[in-house]
């Protein structure tokens, strides 16, 4: 399908470089699914749903800053929802997020809560100023916050908050954030890997399972269609946390 046209109904600033865009169209996404946002004349980039009709974007480069240039009433092209999304498992779920990666988790938590689950969250941010969705998470249940600079909550990386939690208490763990943060978590919680669903990023070009840009070593998982949510036990045996490919297809470091 060609990209559909979509009016941006509203823009809300969440943090200095993070904004939520409310879309005119509710595409009925599952949490964890994403949409390809076409900023016309610029680029098309993947964005997770942070709600049924919202995406939450961090400005990091050309496409995202062009998106920040669009206000309410502007239009973008949409292709999606795409990918597999999280699968809700069990009654007690734990969300572990970092930075803008908390966005799909807030959406998931809200759906889970509505479905009667008990929800707790562990969220890591660089600093107090980068904090987003605090209210959304706190209204779901217990919320542990860490900041790298100690400006709020526990001082340290997200993993520093793990000690506040007994992971055996939780039926399923949902993870999303910068790759090194996720890697930090899953490599420290190996015994829970089979109940940990991680929403990961790779360089998506086609988002249609055909170009090979997003394939994960060593099994060649096409993250754009078989992911972006992947069980942590598969990630432990993959390139994840070690390297990732950029736009050329060449290997590079896992920044962030």
């Amino acid at each position: 399908m060609k990209p559909i046209n979509c009016v941006i109904e509203g823009v809300r600033s969440e943090a200095p470089l993070i904004r939520t865009f409310r879309l005119e169209k509710n595409l009925d996404p599952a949490p964890g699914q994403y949409v390809m946002i076409w900023i016309r004349g610029v680029d098309e980039v993947p964005m997770s749903f942070s709600g049924p009709d919202t995406i939450t974007v961090q400005s990091v480069g050309e496409a995202t800053s062009a998106l920040f240039g669009l206000g309410a009433g502007s239009t973008v092209g949409l292709r999606g929802p795409l990918g597999n999304g999280f699968v809700l498992q069990g009654k007690r779920i734990l969300l572990i997020g970092g930075g803008v990666g908390t966005a799909p988790l807030a959406f998931l938590g809200e759906q889970a809560k509505e479905a009667g689950c008990e929800v707790a969250s562990l969220l890591g941010f660089r600093s107090k100023d980068d904090l987003i969705f605090q209210d959304r998470f706190e209204s779901l249940g217990e919320t542990i916050i860490t900041t790298d600079d100690g400006s709020l909550g526990i001082h340290g990386r997200a993993a520093a908050g793990l000690k506040e939690l007994n992971l055996y208490d939780w039926d399923q763990i949902y993870l999303c954030g910068p790759e090194m943060m996720m890697w930090d978590i899953i490599s420290r919680t190996r015994e829970h890997a089979q109940k940990t669903q991680a929403c990961i990023n790779r360089y998506f070009k086609c988002a249609a399972g055909i170009c090979g840009s997003c394939c994960l070593d060593p099994d060649g998982i096409r993250v754009c269609v078989e992911g972006p949510v992947i069980m942590a036990d598969r990630l432990l045996e993959s390139e994840f946390g070690r390297y990732r490919r950029g736009p050329t297809g060449g290997k590079g470091p896992c920044r962030g």
Partner: protein, 300 residues
Amino acid sequence: MPSLSVHAGGLELSNPILLAAGILGTTGASLCRAAKAGAGGVVTKSLGSLPREGHPGPTIVQVECGLLNAMGLPNPSYKDFQDEIDKARACGVPVIASIFGSFAAEFSQIARSLKADAFELNLSCPHAEKYGSELGRYPDLVESVTGAVKASSNVPVWVKLTPNTADIVELGLAAQRGGADGVVAINTLKAMAIDIETGYPILGNRFGGLSGPAIKPVAVRCVYELASRLEIPVIGVGGIAAWEDAIEMIMAGATAVQVGTALQRGYGVFEEITTGIARYLERKSLTLEELRGLAGRRGS
């Protein structure tokens, strides 16, 4: 079960259904996955001499009857790809390295440096400036590039041809004169799509290549024309999505068939197609050999 093995353009294939260039061919792992899923051989993403990021997005648009793409030949350069090829080769099927350049010496430099089971010369990508069909539309350039690669490599060399031409047979004959071991037809048709809400061309590069069911009748015609005029084998590609399509392509004269866009449905297509062909041959009591070029024998 009838045998599907075939000798195609200097390669021994356990079956004639190959992964097409640029489709899930960016990593050794994804190539290997195609091999394990039943491909008789795999072609890599086209490799150039320098890393390229490709065109801005959208890089694909789904249209009514196919796919438009303008990836823009992203690749880490051949220098950074031997490792991927080696991983793929370990999976037991021939690995054909697709390569591109903007002049003969660039092609032969790459061919000299890479180790693969065969080379496929991309003289046909319709949407990358200075590459692909910008050379491949000229028979003399097709011949000289082919000759240069043949001279600097001792594995089979296939030449992938563009259908964006008045006479693909001229191009095929040029490849043959250059010493090609086979030609591959077709690459995508140059095409575009426009967003009617805003007037923007949808592809980041404006122009792209059309693939999928839409182009099958064009591909079948090209393969038929080439097979009736060339002495070297023709590998058919374009819109093959089901075993019936592969049979049609083989009847048109294809020795092997590549599958691209249909991989959108997943890696299962290889087994679907090979099983379908085997059943067909059984039902008809025919060999692959007898099937090949049948349309040419009927049509004249």
